[in-house]
Homo-oligomer: 250 residues x 2
C-alpha cells in the first residue's frame, strides 16, 4: 500500500478522499487543506491539517489544488518521494524542486455534491520515473479506472477538447433550457432527444450522426430559426455553429 | 383501428412504417413514395405505390416528406378525412385545401439505419378538430410515446431549440473527435466524460452543472487553449461560447 497525503479541498479532492479511503493500493494517512474547516468532517477517519509544517512523511503526495497553486504547494512539500498533480492543463514541469514528479489526471467532470463512478474512468498518467508510471497505473486500476500513458503536450490538448465537449456541450443544454423556460415548455420533454443525441454519437461516431438544416443546407429553416431568436448572443452562436457544420461537411 | 396511408420515404417514414405495422390503434393499409424502389422491400407486408391516383381511401393520411413538399402533397390527396404532417418547423396552416388538419411531431432525431425506441417518446400534437386530438394522442400512446398538445407557434420554438441541442451538440462532439484524431487520441477515452456531461445535466439541470475556465473566469487557461487551436473556425467558436457562458452566469 502506498502511504499517501492528499492535498486540497476542491471537487476532485473530495471524490479522491472518498475513493482512496476504500482503495487497496493506497493507505491515505493525511489530508491537508489551508481551509481545515472544509475537511474537518473527515477527522474521525483520517488526520486532517492546515499546517504545512505538520505534513507527514509519505510515499506519495497527491496535489488536487487550483492550477495556479500547484507550483508553490510543490515547493513547500520539499520531499524526495513522489509528488503528483491531478490537473489536465498543467505541465509536469510545473512541479518544481522535486525529483520524482508525476501527473494523475482523471478525464471527467466532478461536482462535490454528486456521486461519481470511477468504474472505467480514464486516468492520464505521466511520470519522470518509469517505475512510478507502474505504481500510479496500479492505483488507477485499484480505483476501478483505466490508466493511459499521456505526456504533458497531449494532455493539454485533451484538456482543451474536454472544455469543448463538456463545458460547451453543457452550455448548449443551458441555452436550450433557458429558451424552453421562456416559452413555458418543460425541459423534460427534451430528455429523450438529449439522450439519443449523445448515445447515437457514441455508438456511430459524431461524423455519421449530423442531421438538421445546416448539413442539408436548408436555408429556409435556418432563416426561420434566426427569426425566432431575439437574443443576439444565441443568434450569433446559431450562425457560427451552422457555418461550422457546413464548412466541415462539404 | 385507424385506416392509415403513410406518405414519404425519409428517415421518419421508415421508423413510422416499422412501428405502425405493429401498433394496435393503426391499420396501415398503404405506403406511398414518389421513389417506389425505396419502399419496394415492404410490399410483401403492405401495398406500396408511387402513383397518387392509386392512393386508397383512408381515415388518416400521415405525411412524412420534406418541409417544402408538405403543401403540394396535401393538395393532391384531396380528402375530407384527416391529413396530418410530422414536421417540427411547419405550421398546421400549410396543410392547404383539407378540412381536418393535424400535426404529429415526434421530438427525436431519426436515422434510417439505427433502431430507435418509441418508448416515452414525446409527440407534439395539434389538430383543427378536438376529436382528432384524442385520436392522435391514442395513436401516440399505442406507439409507446407520450402525447403533448402543442400549437404551431410553440412547436416552431421547440424545433429551433432541438437544433440548438441536438445538431449543435453533435457538432461539438464532431469537432472534439476531429481534434482528437489529429493528435492520435482515441475518441473512446472521452466516452465516460460525454456520458457524465449529459447525465449530470439531465439529473441536476444544466444551470447547475456548468464547470470550466469560462465560468470561473480563468483567463490563463482560456489563453492557453486558444494557443493550442490552429483552426480559426474552432477558435472563434471557443471564444463565442466562452463569452456566452460568462454573459449567462454573471
Amino acid at each position: 500500500m502506498t502511504k499517501t497525503v492528499l492535498i486540497g479541498a476542491g471537487n476532485l479532492a473530495f471524490h479522491f478522499y472518498k475513493k482512496l479511503t476504500n482503495c487497496n493500493e493506497v493507505n491515505l494517512i493525511q489530508w491537508y487543506s489551508r481551509s481545515v474547516q472544509k475537511i474537518n468532517f473527515a477527522k474521525k477517519q483520517i488526520e486532517v491539517t492546515d499546517q504545512f509544517s505538520q505534513i507527514k512523511s509519505a510515499d506519495l503526495y497527491l496535489i488536487c489544488v487550483s492550477d495556479d497553486a500547484i507550483g508553490s504547494i510543490c515547493k513547500k512539500i520539499n520531499t524526495t518521494e513522489m509528488v503528483v498533480h491531478c490537473a489536465g492543463g498543467v505541465s509536469i514541469d510545473q512541479l518544481k524542486g522535486t525529483p520524482r514528479k508525476g501527473v494523475f489526471y482523471p478525464l471527467q467532470t466532478f461536482s462535490k455534491d454528486q456521486d461519481l463512478s470511477f468504474d472505467q474512468l480514464p486516468f492520464c498518467i505521466e511520470t519522470t520515473d518509469p517505475k512510478d508510471q507502474i505504481l500510479l497505473s496500479n492505483i488507477a486500476k485499484a480505483m476501478g479506472g483505466i490508466p493511459y500513458k499521456v505526456d504533458s503536450k497531449t494532455r493539454a490538448q485533451m484538456h482543451m477538447i474536454a472544455v469543448l465537449i463538456n463545458n460547451f456541450g453543457n452550455h448548449l443544454l443551458y441555452l436550450g433550457s433557458k429558451l424552453l423556460k421562456e416559452h413555458d415548455i418543460p425541459f423534460e420533454i427534451f430528455h429523450p432527444l438529449i439522450k439519443e443525441t449523445y448515445q447515437k454519437a457514441l455508438k456511430s461516431g459524431p461524423e455519421n450522426t449530423q442531421t438538421g438544416p445546416a448539413i442539408r443546407d436548408d436555408q429556409k429553416t435556418i432563416e426561420k430559426h434566426l427569426g425566432l431568436l431575439s437574443d443576439e448572443n444565441i443568434k450569433k452562436l446559431y450562425l457560427n455553429l451552422t457555418t461550422s457544420i457546413q464548412n466541415n461537411h462539404e
